[in-house]
């Protein structure tokens, strides 16, 4: 149902320890943010795409498609960054002196950062990332809540899909008036069902002596030290190239 989630569970690296993927993704993300975009940004995009497509064997179409998700946002931003409004003599809109350079910089920096996010989410299942949140100080009740929400999202997405199909079959999306009413009913019935589901889960757990703890299995694989070092060397190499470039 959610393509990104499917790839996260089925790529060649989905069984690897999450830290082995978090280290290169996080390191490169930091590098993308702090280094000047040229030549770091294209380098980071290339490395992350190679890791995703060649390393983890995620289909190229999925990797590029996910990287293209924020293109709409980027395209809206470019004119705003490149143009300047001058109100000294009436309202003038013109190309800002450094506008195009700024737009190109921000766009390439965001794309580079997005390529790191794309690598992480296409190779690492959410269920493996959540336990890592504990190391960032996210308390256990919140982590449990996140995992529960993750499981339930798919149940509700399927419901939403089925509901919409039933409405479409009854011409529920014919014209804007009906569309809004149908969508409102869909959301309302989803809400009723989700509360009902929550209550049934509560009853089910209470019947099994629930005291507030929901233990789950943490995988006990160890992260490979060599891979962690390799993952940390990648951003270091990008930093080195950037410095060499400016010298």
């Amino acid at each position: 149902m959610l393509a990104i989630d499917r790839h996260a569970w089925t790529n060649r690296w989905s069984d690897r320890h999450p830290l082995e993927k978090l280290v290169p993704a996080g390191g490169m993300l930091l590098a993308a943010l702090v280094l000047p975009p040229w030549p770091a940004a294209p380098l980071i995009i290339a490395v992350m795409l190679v890791l995703t497509i060649v390393g983890a064997r995620v289909p190229p179409k999925a990797a590029l498609g996910t990287l293209a998700v924020p293109v709409g946002f980027l395209l809206t931003g470019i004119p705003v960054l490149a143009l300047a409004v001058d109100v000294s003599v009436g309202v003038h809109i013109g190309l800002a002196p450094d506008g195009l350079r700024l737009a190109a910089e921000v766009t390439s920096r965001s794309l580079a950062a997005t390529s790191c996010l794309v690598f992480l989410i296409l190779t690492t299942p959410v269920a493996e990332l959540v336990p890592m949140l504990g190391r960032l100080g996210v308390p256990k009740p919140v982590r449990e809540l996140i995992l529960l929400i993750y499981r339930l999202i798919f149940v509700f997405l399927e419901r939403a899909d089925v509901g919409r199909q039933a409405q479409v079959a009854r011409l529920g999306y014919d014209g804007p008036r009906r569309s809004i009413r149908s969508l409102g009913w869909l959301a309302g019935s989803l809400f009723q069902r989700s509360l009902d589901r929550g209550r049934r889960l509560e009853t089910g757990l209470a019947a099994r002596g629930f005291t507030g703890d929901l233990p789950y299995l943490d995988s006990d694989r160890a992260a490979s030290g060599a891979l962690l070092v390799a993952g940390a060397l990648l951003p270091a190499a990008v930093v080195a190239v950037s410095i060499a470039w400016t010298l």
């Binding site: 990104i4 989630d5 993300l29 993308a32 943010l33 998700v69 924020p70 709409g72 946002f73 980027l74 809206t76 931003g77 705003v80 960054l81 143009l83 300047a84 409004v85 800002a96 002196p97 700024l102 921000v106 920096r109 965001s110 794309l111 950062a113 997005t114 790191c116 996010l117 959410v126 308390p139 009740p141 449990e144 809540l145 929400i149 339930l152 999202i153 149940v155 509700f156 997405l157 939403a160 804007p176 569309s179 809004i180 969508l183 409102g184 009913w185 959301a187 309302g188 019935s189 989803l190 809400f191 009723q192 989700s194 509360l195 589901r197 929550g198 209550r199 889960l201 509560e202 507030g212």
Partner: protein, 220 residues
């Protein structure tokens, strides 16, 4: 309106995260207390969070030709209250980054500030203040203004990060507000109407469920 990964300069991303943190921490504390008193509420909170995610994934019938989604800010604030919404909203934003590649991890703080904090608080206050005008008017205003508030905050965030070379922050703010207004103003109106339909439906058929949520909002 999600700010994408890496769009904000690192200092801005960090500052917005710091600004959002107290609200989220307060929400987490509140949830902690609720769950301690009624452990079974955990499931209710989880289903509510999953509902909020799915709501934001529903496609709104296109107004301007582009595909758009409801923010759910108004509905969430009216149903769960702004404190709980700060946490549920942040979790939904995290999932939107991880499962849909909408938004990002470094911009999570900035997006949470606009969509999980300011939007719900505005919607909630509007809803409280308009209680004399009848349910439909209040809900419409809450949802529409909550949506508009998130878009204004996003514009402020972007304008602070990228001030106009000639006119500074003010000029940049006007630019961002006007370019996003094209899609956001019609969207806010549609979301307002949509939320009225949902809340009227719930008021008609799910009174018991709504009162079951009352303690999340803190209206014991």
């Amino acid at each position: 309106m999600h700010i994408m990964e890496g769009y904000l300069p690192p200092i801005h991303a960090l500052a917005w995260t710091v600004a959002a943190a107290p609200f989220v921490v307060a929400g987490v504390r509140r949830i902690g207390r609720i769950v301690e008193d009624h452990p079974e509420t955990k499931l209710l909170l989880a289903t509510s969070g999953a509902f909020a995610f799915v709501l934001s994934a529903l496609k709104i019938p296109s107004v301007t030709g582009s595909c758009s989604h409801p923010t759910g800010v108004g509905l969430g604030a009216v149903l769960f209250g702004p404190n709980v919404m700060a946490v549920l909203g942040s979790i939904v934003l995290l999932f939107q980054a991880l499962l849909l590649a909408h938004g990002g991890i470094t911009t999570l703080g900035a997006n949470a500030f606009s969509m999980a904090i300011v939007g719900p608080w505005v919607a909630w206050s509007v809803w409280r203040m308009t209680s004399g005008f009848g349910r439909s008017v209040g809900v419409f205003l809450a949802a529409a203004l909550g949506n508009l508030a998130t878009y204004c905050v996003t514009s402020v965030q972007l304008a602070l990060a990228f001030p106009d070379p000639a006119t500074g922050f003010g000029g940049a703010l006007v630019k961002f507000l006007s370019i996003f207004a094209v899609t956001q103003v019609p969207l806010a109106i549609v979301e307002g109407i949509l939320t009225v339909v949902v809340v009227n439906l719930l008021a008609q058929y799910s009174r018991d469920e709504l009162s079951a949520l009352a303690f999340l909002r803190g209206a014991k």
